[in-house]
Symmetry: C2
Subunit: 743 residues, 2 copies
Amino acid sequence: MNQPHVYAEHGFDLHFLNKYASLMAAGNGYIGIRASHEEDYAEQVRGMYIAGLFHRATPNDSNELVNLPDIVGMRIELDGEIFSLQGGERLAYQRELRLANGELQRSLFWRAASGKRYQISSTRCLAAAPLQLHLAQLTITPLDGAAKIRIATGIDATLTNSGRQHLDELSVRVFDQHYLQGHYRTLDGANEVIIGCCCRVPAHASSSFAAKNRRLMQYIEAEVEQGEAFSIEKLSWITSSLETYFCAETAAESALSALKRCAARPWHELVQSSDRQWQDYWSQRRVLVESASPQDQVALDFATYHLKAMTPAHDERCSIAAKGLSGEGYKGHVFWDTEIFLLPLHLFSEPRVARQLLRYRYLNLEQARAKASQNGYCGALFPWESAFSGAEETPEYAAINIRTGLRQKVASALAEHHIVADIAFAVVSYYQATGDEAFMCQEGVALLQACAEFWISRAVEVEGRLEIHDVIGPDEYTEHIDNNAYTNYLAHYNVRHAVEAMEKFGKRDAEFARQADDFLSRLYLPEPNAEGIIPQDDSFLSKPTIDLAKYKASQGSQSILLDYARSEVNEMQILKQADVVMLLFLRPELFDAEIAAANLDYYEPRTIHDSSLSKAIHAIIASRCQRAELAYRLYQEACLIDLGPEAHSSDEGIHAAALGAIWLGALFGFAGMSQQGEELHFWPSLPAGWQQMSFPLMWRGRSLQLAITRQALTVTLAGEGELTLFVQGKANRIAGTQTIALQ
Amino acid sequence: MNQPHVYAEHGFDLHFLNKYASLMAAGNGYIGIRASHEEDYAEQVRGMYIAGLFHRATPNDSNELVNLPDIVGMRIELDGEIFSLQGGERLAYQRELRLANGELQRSLFWRAASGKRYQISSTRCLAAAPLQLHLAQLTITPLDGAAKIRIATGIDATLTNSGRQHLDELSVRVFDQHYLQGHYRTLDGANEVIIGCCCRVPAHASSSFAAKNRRLMQYIEAEVEQGEAFSIEKLSWITSSLETYFCAETAAESALSALKRCAARPWHELVQSSDRQWQDYWSQRRVLVESASPQDQVALDFATYHLKAMTPAHDERCSIAAKGLSGEGYKGHVFWDTEIFLLPLHLFSEPRVARQLLRYRYLNLEQARAKASQNGYCGALFPWESAFSGAEETPEYAAINIRTGLRQKVASALAEHHIVADIAFAVVSYYQATGDEAFMCQEGVALLQACAEFWISRAVEVEGRLEIHDVIGPDEYTEHIDNNAYTNYLAHYNVRHAVEAMEKFGKRDAEFARQADDFLSRLYLPEPNAEGIIPQDDSFLSKPTIDLAKYKASQGSQSILLDYARSEVNEMQILKQADVVMLLFLRPELFDAEIAAANLDYYEPRTIHDSSLSKAIHAIIASRCQRAELAYRLYQEACLIDLGPEAHSSDEGIHAAALGAIWLGALFGFAGMSQQGEELHFWPSLPAGWQQMSFPLMWRGRSLQLAITRQALTVTLAGEGELTLFVQGKANRIAGTQTIALQ
């Protein structure tokens, strides 16, 4: 239990090929590599991506994360038979991802059509340091007589993003009959990628090399004795012009030198520095639960693993894609998911990373200002989807409607404006959790003010009060509505904190302050009605309801859209995810427990949870409302978004926000954590099956370790000095280790 | 025997997947479709091409025949198991291409991993008329209990040319819940392609449609009873902006209407007009042999089939690619192969097509003049490789040398100038065989003169005589040599015929005539030496020889280049194909039989036959020299270039010229045909195993049918009037049917 779990694939099944390629993907925040098998399968989608490396292939496409030339593929021929698990007979098969360090191992016994058996094992590992290094090992043992083994591997630049090619092949080289190097450039000339690799092969194997049709290949051939373990190691070095020290003139040479340096060292040495990085990562983040259901720990480890894999902690010009670096879904674009679902884990473990994710927005303020201005607003309107440039990447028009031939304007980029307030919310959280005044004074104030200016200009006056019209809240099944509760409350929060921060950091602007005060005093904030229900928007509560049981049963699949047009869904009380529940999550201080419960009870039956962001948040609110059973059921279901039995829902990558929500659910749900201003609160409520949960935490520069049982919360504060924690509403001064009894 | 052969695949083998995809490819001169299986295999390269539809994907590539969106693929799921011949058990498997009409049929029995058996058959046919129509049928019969069958098929635009994408997806549509249509444009905006399809499915099957990631798919699902033959028919209509009546505004609508019209007719009606076309084709071309080796007839039928499939007889702006329309080898470019190896079959069966192939050159005269001028010459220097524009498409630099990183200048485009004389030779042949004065007066004279002007400017004076320096003959293993016999003799022929034609058609140009006379009188024409050997070039005979047995044993693989650098090969008497033998083939009138024999004996042992153009020509000369056994052996080996057991040599397409040479070998070899000015000669020399050969022929507008036995040549002249044929050197006036005894 002290090591993060080993995540195992349950047998080989063609239907699950791409799901596991996503789930077991390697990543170090810079590079992501799908866990495709060495051998090819027709339906297998290979993928390697570099954070921030986007390109637009054709005028009808948008910028997308470029699928890079493949280094994983190995064509294996055993006595003339092409190895494939579709053919022959699988005698044993096991594949495991060590979440502790991202090592992917496969081990199998296979009987060829010829009747001869072979043992085939492979190990792959993308280093956590240096970020450019990938290691692969393949071992084949013929079990029935000697065998002629042929392996073809190298750098395969025939890969595309579903047929869209982004790279021009500048050069392919073989140095010293050993080192392969491919040099590529995006077709727009903006970025370069250099991929090098070399194979350590046994002395009795022969090698030849060839380049053709965008493939630079090494052909390895050997006669192998029965029982002899024939093993090759393939080292790859992947570098790009996004790296700080990339110099176009010398890059190819430097990349070659780096590869050579690695090739001079043994495997175990190469993985050491990577493993150390991973150990540090886990020590600062691992949530440990003693649960009657072992799957809870698997889910937490799985989520925590992927949070590292997906986060470009090395480069503030990049943020986290909706699918991380594990697939091409959403084209690698960045959404509000980052600030609301993914940033918290970093904020409470390594705040530098959270700061960097906010820096990404700060660096792109100009683009956000431009978008606001283009839309007739002031301040900054951050793009609904962004890539490297920070410009709006949501296609102006949705994919063509194949029945009408019409392309509908994409509503998200036009109206899903809450992202502006979400970013502001994350700025405030960051500042409160860290006290980072340097950041707040510069980036923080700039972001808050620009976002606040947007909201001020976005509001319209109706009979003396200010309203925000024609928006989409997080619930994308309800479009173009007025006074979305989530949006209005968060906009208000944004403007209030902008005023406060500007004041505090001596950046007061009289005109802004006047406008902001007016906004704050006159903005309509929907109050709970007589039944305690906060209306999601002006019209929602008056819309008809239908029985959603059928759609809830197939949640995540958007099956409602098979029965109803989007415009019809819009006119009913049908939620993809519940805005009000989301609001309760982010702003627990707004309403008391009774109101929260009333709203959960009202909105939960109306929510299909077709959004992967939905369920864990409902679990958190349920937990806060002491609906322990409901909370745990929703939480466990939320853990199944990637880990569940559905064969294809993760084909295009893991659900980054849903993974962040697994961590959120444990801490903000069951540990009852909440950040209230500069106060950190806990109101634990462990699920019935949990005996204990423990986790490390960073809070205002201090390192904590917490352990929660049903009876007590034990906290250890590292270092000197004291810190106040609020447990079940009571302030506790903590120094060293302290145990606080729970009521 | 009266029907063209059915060409059968010998079992299913992954290693041969792409060979058979080429060999069994469908083609109608406009469209070519590789014979990929319905289901996907990782190594399977799908391909559909339109003659003349080229595009350059990246700055480092050249124009290539665009691999179009796929219509052949069908993902078949049987009771949840994805059908693949790599899995389960093949109980029976048969695939046949009816050479008579291009119908491809597959029939198999398959046992799934579940143990359940299914019979699966499919038929596909690209219509010979209308050229845009493709028909496909799939029938699945569950043999062990009822089955749930799922089929996904549609239009898949994720295809690339080895990763190079040429098309932008403009629109994807589904009309009337039945007709799918994808509209694509080359990235340079120059060409459009519209692909439509629809599936006739049994009434109890359900269908749904989706478009995503460049795939427009129909999902067909049905519960099928045991023993029920579940059958779907898929009709496709493929149209492009290369068509004469293509109108950008109405094309999508017209294409849809055309598809609907087809869909309203039953299958047997749709194939009728196509089958008629094929019947006409065969009746004018089929060479029938009574041979002890049935493979001879297969090879002839196979070649004749592909000659139709590859020839864009509908469009004079296109010519024949080196791989026809069966694959991406040589990027779909046109070489001298067309005029020398492929044009003759058309010239002697449907001269209009030969004329059109020459018109292709005529239409591109400007580009050829530009190339000549860029290289400092007069007249027309036709490109070594050409595509649609007629500009030189040979990449300026060869593929990068992966060891040195250097790109060598491609010598062919710089020095393989004989193509100019080859085109002129074909012009003369065409005129002599048809007497088409209208053509000769316009296109013929223009081509002959422009080509002649090139040669005149290309010659250099050395001590009073004119020489042609620094060329490459057909033998590409000997580069940059002076006075290549093949080139000099053909250049001389070119200039002589230019002068004569200009004279005859009243287009005499005094200055040209003066220069031409000078050229003709002073051009050095290498004479046989004391041993009767015509030197291939100035230096060849003085170069050292080595034992070539090892390389001849692996002919076609260029294995010599594994042992020797190209520059070393250049300095030895090593031939890829023999220029002098080629010269003897084209200009039999130049030397007597003794000289021919001496040269065959000299050059044959020095020739590896690494060129697919080589062997059949040697067979022809051997036959003319009465080396019947050698001739037949070489001929049969030449027939194996595509049809032989090598697994991968045809992966990128059939060898068009080699197929043309199978026909050439039969007629110009064993029938002893030769065209001497306006005389048509026969000097038959059937192989020992042949009892008889017969074939139709067009000669000077007259339709002939010939039958040759060891004893006699019987000829039937259709229509009124007489015609002179030369048999064994003697003139015979033919009228009606006549039998001429052979000596």
